[in-house]
């Protein structure tokens, strides 16, 4: 069915880009539109009360984080518990930007974050070009150089930010206040994602050279470090508005269903397009066999880092969206125990299955955050951390490949191109391939071939 579909789209070379889309793509877009409209209507018509609406938005946020983690763990094979730390970075960074705009009427957060992310990006790009010329640079040396540059960049961003804050605020002030708020919000979310990505790039340089288990422990350490820093964000980091362990309040609640769903659909499309490309195959080859990947000319270290950065970018964006759901952030949300949540979702949905991750994320939100909380007695929250591991254990025993295994929805499925049969009759035995290989090689369907070993 699918193979036939591709052949059709291939042969009909229509110029317009949109018309070239495969039917499965149309199906996906239509389904997404229906889901969006249905949920939006349910929200507008108050079929869903605010509790369930929040749950659904959280499900979508969880789907974005988990897709990021699935890239890192499911597709690239690096067991990471750091996803929650990057999620926290994204949440607090975005919250600080919108809080300053909303509460203090200052664009300083936006400007400084923009300068920091932009300048650090330029610095990373520049240094990586320079380092590429030197043979075999030690990971720690590279890390130190990147880090020192980043610190310098941070100071530059802060001082330059003070100069630029007023003009930027004036420009944004031209817009109607509601629209300006939305613009600041979207920029904040994207920049928060970029910040998380840059931090993960720095962190990943030395840590990704570790073997898989050690990498997991190091990333767990990262999540704990972030949590401790957030506990002391008002004293150690100097962000008074984050209020440390008391929790940050007064963040504008801007993450509507439309925003969170839009980001989710975009994420799914980007992840899908990436995975079904040469880059995606390189990412997966690292999971399959690192040494074989190297022997095939794939820069394993680079693709590990690339995937880690991309996964963290998604975590940061999801964090930014999460911060604006409840308007309240508390370091306990980013506790390392919670860092197992996306891991549970990814394992439940199936490692390396995008569809599974999407289903599991919403199931996670509806069941564990929604149904269980609603129908089980007060104080059950504490028991969730007993239920989760138990569920995971049962899952591992019964369905080690996840709920959906490697199943993918048609749009997300890798379509196999039709087989090319060079000048061979349909059913006749293949005696001679045009290359004379046929005479040399046994037929692929030869049953006797399998008896070796």
């Amino acid at each position: 069915m699918d193979a036939k579909v591709t052949r059709d789209t291939r042969s009909s070379r229509l110029p317009a880009n949109l018309l070239r889309l495969a039917p499965s793509t149309w199906g996906f877009l239509a389904t997404m539109l229906i889901v969006f409209v249905a949920v939006q209507l349910a929200i507008s018509e108050r079929v869903l009360n605010s509790f369930w609406e929040t749950i659904i938005r959280q499900g979508a946020v969880m789907a974005i984080v988990s897709l990021g983690l699935n890239l890192i763990y499911g597709f690239n094979g690096q067991f990471s518990l750091g996803q929650w730390g990057f999620y926290a970075i994204g949440a607090y960074a975005a919250a600080d930007v919108t809080w300053r705009w909303d509460q203090a009427h200052s664009a300083s957060g936006l400007v400084v974050l923009f300068l920091l992310v932009g300048l650090a990006g330029v610095w990373f790009w520049f240094l990586s070009r320079q380092l590429a010329r030197v043979a075999r640079v030690d990971a720690l040396t590279a890390f130190t150089l990147y880090l020192v540059g980043m610190i310098v960049v941070a100071f530059v961003a802060i001082y330059l930010g003070q100069v630029l804050t007023e003009p930027v605020a004036a420009v944004l002030g031209v817009l109607p206040p509601g629209l300006a708020m939305q613009v600041v919000f979207v920029l904040a979310v994207l920049l928060a994602g970029a910040l998380a990505a840059e931090v993960s790039f720095l962190f990943g340089l030395p840590v990704l050279t570790l073997g898989s288990d050690y990498f997991g422990i190091a990333t767990l350490g990262f999540t704990i470090i972030v949590k401790v820093l957030l506990d002391n964000s008002d004293t150690m980091l100097g962000f008074a508005e984050m209020k440390g362990a008391r929790g940050m309040v007064g963040i504008p609640q801007l993450t509507s269903w439309a925003w969170v769903f839009g980001f989710l659909v975009l994420t799914v499309i980007v992840v899908r397009n990436l995975l079904h490309s040469s880059t995606g195959r390189a990412i997966v080859s690292v999971r399959e066999d690192e040494i074989a990947a190297k022997a095939m000319g794939i820069d394993v270290a680079r693709y590990k880092n690339f995937t880690f950065v991309l996964g963290s970018l998604l975590a940061g964006i999801a964090g930014g969206l999460y911060a604006h759901i409840n308007g309240f952030l508390h370091p306990d949300t980013f506790n390392f125990i919670k860092s197992f949540d996306p891991m549970i979702v990814v394992v439940f949905g199936g490692l390396g299955s995008v569809t599974g991750t999407l289903v599991a994320s919403f199931a996670w939100a509806l069941m564990l955050e929604g149904v269980l909380r609603l129908f089980l007695p007060q104080g059950f929250e504490t028991w969730r951390f007993v239920v989760y591991p138990l569920l995971l254990l049962i899952m591992m025993l019964l369905r080690p490949k996840g709920l959906l295994g490697t199943f993918e929805a048609p749009f997300l499925r890798q379509v196999l191109p039709p087989a090319r049969r060079p000048a061979v009759s349909e059913n006749g035995p293949r005696v001679e391939a045009p290359t004379a290989a046929g005479s040399v090689l046994p037929n692929a369907a030869d049953p006797a071939e399998g008896q070796g070993g």
Partner: protein, 288 residues
């Protein structure tokens, strides 16, 4: 190429096509802790040759391959390939220069399709970037289609075209070997390193494999360096053979020379066998 075994006449090979050395290894040594896995290994392989490396288990053959391909950094010694010193290059860079290899215990990408196994080898030549892929640009579509068709044609050469959608780990053993060789060749190497390609094969499969090696060598204009455990395979197809034992080269020469070398027989069968064969030979020469 100085001061080695008596039969060093490798430079003056018959039928060599011009004789540009493609791979030059000298003084290659690897020490793991207190173990000298390989010491002072030397070999020169010219364009178009098929050279064998044999030796008993643990002689250090695979370690030599791992050093040539950059998986291990040599303790001492140099590897030159096509005029480039491989010392500071990473494994993927060495592959991109034109050295591809297979592994002793097959290392396919087990959970990927046969087609993807081959397509991964084309990655360095994919010719489009991440943004092209994400935005599905026309350039991406065209390159991806070309690349896929090339991979499919390639599978057809190896008679694997009907298996393109199969998960690699589900293939029968012989086909896994064949796919691994196909994948290595898809990386467009000038030099192919085969690490015990006949391991675990029955005689019928070994015969097929030998045909396959002959075939790819001619079709892809390859130079092949081959590790083998089964004497029969190397003797049948290699032009030059180097023999290792305990990390050192103990003999080198043509298959005929190697077969009668007492050191080789000793390494493979023990001192007694070596003496026995020598006595037998002497007796035979007395008779004739």
């Amino acid at each position: 190429m100085s001061g080695l075994a008596p039969n060093v006449a490798i430079s003056g090979q018959p039928g060599g096509n011009g004789g540009q050395p493609l791979l030059q290894v000298s003084g290659l040594t690897k020490v793991f802790g207190g173990l000298r896995a390989v010491s002072n290994f030397e070999v020169t392989i010219r364009k178009g040759e098929l050279v064998g490396l044999i030796g008993p288990n643990g002689a250090g053959k695979t370690t030599v391959f791992n050093m040539i391909t950059g998986i291990y950094a040599p303790t001492a010694g140099e590897v030159w390939f096509n005029g480039t010193n491989l010392a500071d290059l990473l494994p993927h860079q060495i592959t991109q220069l034109g050295i591809a290899r297979t592994f002793q215990n097959i290392r396919l990408f087990p959970n990927l399709t046969v087609l993807d196994n081959v397509r991964i080898a084309y990655h360095p030549h994919a010719g489009y970037g991440v943004m092209d892929a994400v935005l599905r640009s026309a350039h991406f579509e065209r390159r991806e289609r070309e690349l896929t068709e090339r991979a499919q044609d390639f599978l057809a050469v190896f008679n694997l075209q009907d298996r393109q959608g199969e998960i690699a780990r589900n293939l029968p053993y012989g086909e896994q070997r064949r796919l691994e060789i196909a994948r290595a060749l898809a990386a467009e190497p000038k030099l192919l390193l085969l690490d015990e390609p006949a391991a675990g094969m029955n005689p019928r499969e070994v015969a097929t494999l030998m045909d396959l090696i002959h075939f790819i060598r001619e079709r892809f204009d390859l130079t092949i360096f081959l590790i083998e455990h089964q004497m029969r395979v190397v003797m049948g197809i290699c032009e030059w053979i180097t023999v290792m034992d305990f990390g050192e080269i103990i003999a080198r020469g043509t298959p005929a020379e190697i077969q009668s070398d007492p050191k080789v027989i000793e390494a493979y069968l023990g001192r007694g066998a070596s003496e026995l064969s020598q006595r037998l030979r002497q007796k035979r020469s007395h008779v004739t």
